[in-house]
């Protein structure tokens, strides 16, 4: 029985599967083309004596379901009642990726932003200010380069804190009643 359910959501091809593998030790295929995770994948993670179920949702550009895989992602975020949604973003393509974040925001589900591929962004001369996003949105924002293992520790620490925190404390108002 899992104590917490955490869903990974994001656009196709932002490194969600790499993060999923790094978190759960399960190896699922990682590709560089849109739409590779066709169904949601499940993995387990143990943090501080709590069982976390990590769900890797199919990549989606929006919560308006245009294809069966997007429907899977949408339904889980809205009705699967995850304890938190980890929204993975491509830091090198921030604006387009934030579009989905804006939609997840509208559902009111508890969320964490992970700005992945910061190494690519830096190489292109982009400077990211995660603290600005965190302050404006009022949620934790983590920078990461999952392929190099950077930022993974921070995410795990954050998940550990979530696992320790009683559920009610995290939810401002109840979502999906």
């Amino acid at each position: 029985m899992a104590d917490l359910t955490i869903a990974l959501a994001g656009n196709p091809n932002v490194g969600k599967s790499t993060l999923f593998n790094a978190l759960t030790g399960r190896h699922q295929h990682v590709g560089n083309w849109p739409g590779k995770t066709v169904a949601k994948q499940e993995g387990k993670l143990m943090i501080e004596g709590k069982h976390l179920t990590i769900i890797d949702l199919p990549g989606t550009y929006s919560l308006s379901a245009h294809s069966p895989e997007e429907e899977i992602a949408r339904n889980f975020i809205v009705c699967g009642r995850p304890d938190a949604v980890v929204n993975v973003l491509d830091a090198a393509n921030l604006e387009r990726n934030l579009y989905l974040s804006a939609q997840i925001l509208e559902t009111g589900v508890p969320m964490i932003l992970v700005l992945n591929m910061t190494d690519v962004a830096t190489a292109r001369g982009l400077q990211i200010h995660p603290e600005v996003l965190s302050t404006r949105l009022g949620i934790p924002v983590i920078t990461m380069a999952a392929s190099r293992g950077q930022g993974l520790g921070e995410l795990k620490r954050l998940l550990a804190t979530i696992a320790r925190t009683p559920r009610e404390a995290m939810l401002g108002s109840s979502v999906c009643a």
Binding site: H27, G31, A65, E106, M170
Partner: protein, 573 residues
């Protein structure tokens, strides 16, 4: 430490006319407890105004007419502001919100320049070079899955039929059980079945290796773009191309790969055409039959079969586009191109491993099961004086069951119970066609290979040596991808007894036109249902109705094509 509110504190506001309707609509929806229990109200109202048809149906179902009327009224009031484009306007406002957010969180370099990926794309998707580069890469993938995998396929086959069967016989003789039905079950049923699964590994491994590189590098999305115009003419979509390519390896992952298509029409149409791409499991059948009937031009025959599959898919695609799917506009083609990346070995390995094992987990029960059933039917005597597991094949239950099918295949030139039986088992999985043919054409005494007594040590050495030489052959095959042939031509020699039996069988059933009947047989194998697993996949993806359309359609097309080959050929020859 970060603050512990995970629930966002920022709320995005839309233009005031929309906000007014959002408030009204969520209040109206809030009267329906079923909806409140399922969805956040504001979110639901937003999606409904944006025109989400799935949720609208849900609201009609759960909320009844009150909810639907509230929605219609809100939409009507907003039409004065936004006309037909309310949905786009809402997306636009969301993008403005996101744009402001990104502008604060991101400092851009002064001069945006072309990225490395852009420069590569100018070559790879170039108007002249795009298609040649694509075709070149597909050729490499094809060669990898055939020539490079072949030595390993032979090696696994040799290990199973040689040392492993030999060990089992020895073990049984130690326990005093040799020579009986148990030995027959283990060798002809289990080992044949396991072998049918295992020989798949090298083919799938090399296929997934190639796909992993194409995917990880970012080329796959480009290939869809480059092929879009051509696919469009066939009534398909650029994104249909990927499942088609995967189909040359195996129809099952190809059918699942259709999920990347957004439009249901495109998905189903692609799913119907994918099975005509000659999958790797059909190849052993071509090799065996072509080597027997067309020894001098086996390569040409096999190539022709692949081409026939493609042509049938093209023709059928164009036909279906004009008939069954005629009245729908094609979906506009748009796909994101991820930046090019260097694939990492770790990723590629994981991908090869995961996908191959996932396939094997799906397939092994079916293949092993079929192999056992065929064995059982072959072991059961229904006439003559044989006893269980010791009966002549033509007096077995298998011959009786297959015999029922023969009239169907008689006009195609291969109406014998042997071929009917092979095709019947081929419905379950193509890789068992060859093993069934070997089982049913088995001439007593002809297949007994003299195996000298060997020790386990010698066997292990032989297995290791075989693997090394297979690796050597595979490496030698690598340069042939670009046209250099290092490997000396080897003649694929089927066992003499088997060659003779199959030749006689086809000659007898076709009135002397054995070669023609064999060609018709191959065309039939190419075009009818790839396997049970593919059928199951089609049902899961497209529903029972399309599954039956697919099964029956493929059978009819295969039957007609084989008829044309045999009767047409007989007319001219």
């Amino acid at each position: 430490m970060t603050s512990f509110a995970l629930t966002p504190s920022l709320r995005m506001t839309y233009a005031s006319p929309i906000e007014v309707e959002l408030t009204r609509l969520s209040e109206a929806l809030g009267h329906c407890p079923d909806l409140v229990a399922r969805y956040p109200m504001r979110w639901l109202a937003i999606q409904l105004l944006e025109g989400d048809t799935l949720l609208q149906a849900e609201v009609e179902r759960l909320g009844g007419s009150v909810a639907s009327e509230a929605l219609a009224a809100s939409r009507m009031r907003l039409e004065t502001h936004y006309g037909e484009d309310l949905d786009v306007a809402m997306v636009d406002q969301r993008y403005r919100f996101v744009h402001d957010l990104a502008a604060q969180a991101l400092t851009r370099p002064k001069t945006p320049s072309l990225t490395m990926s852009d420069r590569v794309d100018r070559i790879v998707t170039n108007r002249w070079l795009g298609i040649p580069i694509f075709l070149g890469l597909m050729w490499v993938v094809f060669k990898l899955t055939t020539d490079v995998a072949a030595p390993f396929v032979d090696w696994i086959d040799a290990v199973l039929t040689g040392p492993v069967s030999h060990w089992i016989t020895s073990l049984l003789s130690i326990t005093g059980l040799s020579g009986g039905w148990l030995e027959s079950l283990l060798i002809d049923g289990v080992i044949a079945g396991v072998g049918g699964v295992l020989v798949f590994i090298p083919v799938l491994f090399s296929l997934y290796f190639a796909l992993a590189i194409l995917e990880d590098s970012g080329y796959m999305a480009r290939s869809a773009f480059v092929m879009d115009r051509l696919m469009h003419r066939l009534g398909l979509h650029g994104k249909s191309f990927l499942p088609m390519v995967v189909g040359f390896g195996c129809s099952v992952p190809a059918i699942y790969a259709t999920r990347t298509l957004e439009n249901e029409r495109d998905r189903i149409l692609t799913g119907l055409l994918v099975p005509f791409m000659s999958c790797s499991a059909r190849l052993p059948v071509y090799v065996l039959v072509a080597a027997i009937f067309f020894p001098t031009m086996a390569g040409l025959v096999i190539f022709g079969l692949y081409l026939t599959g493609i042509l049938v898919a093209i023709g059928l695609g164009m036909l279906l586009k004009r008939t069954l799917f005629g009245n729908e506009l094609p979906t506009p083609f748009v796909i994101e191109l991820p930046p090019y990346r260097l694939p990492t070995l770790r990723n590629i390995w994981h991908q090869m491993w995961e996908r191959t094992s996932a396939f094997l987990q799906h397939a092994w029960t079916i293949i092993l099961g079929t192999s056992m059933v065929v064995w059982l039917l072959l072991a059961l005597p229904v006439s003559g004086e044989g006893s269980f597991a010791d009966t002549d094949v033509d007096q077995s239950a298998f011959a009786a069951v297959s015999g029922v099918m023969t009239p169907v295949f008689a006009p195609l030139g291969f109406g014998s119970w042997e071929t009917s039986g092979a095709l019947l088992t081929g419905f379950v999985a193509k890789e068992v066609v060859v093993s069934t043919m070997i089982q049913v054409y088995n001439v007593p005494g002809a297949e007994e290979e003299e195996v000298g007594a060997t020790t386990i040590g010698e066997d292990l050495l032989a297995i290791g040596g075989g693997f090394l030489s297979a690796t050597g052959d595979a490496l030698k095959a690598l340069p042939s991808i670009i046209g250099i042939n290092l490997a000396a031509e080897e003649d694929e020699q089927a066992p003499d007894g088997l060659t003779g039996a199959i030749r006689q069988g086809f000659d007898a059933s076709s009135g002397g036109h054995g070669a023609l009947a064999a060609l018709a047989f191959l065309v039939f194998v190419l075009l009818y249902t790839p396997c049970m697993v593919a059928v199951a996949a089609a049902r899961q993806e497209f529903g029972s109705r399309w599954m039956w359309v697919s099964i029956i359609g493929q059978f009819v097309i295969a039957w007609l094509a084989a008829l044309i080959v045999f009767q047409g050929g007989r007319f001219f020859l």
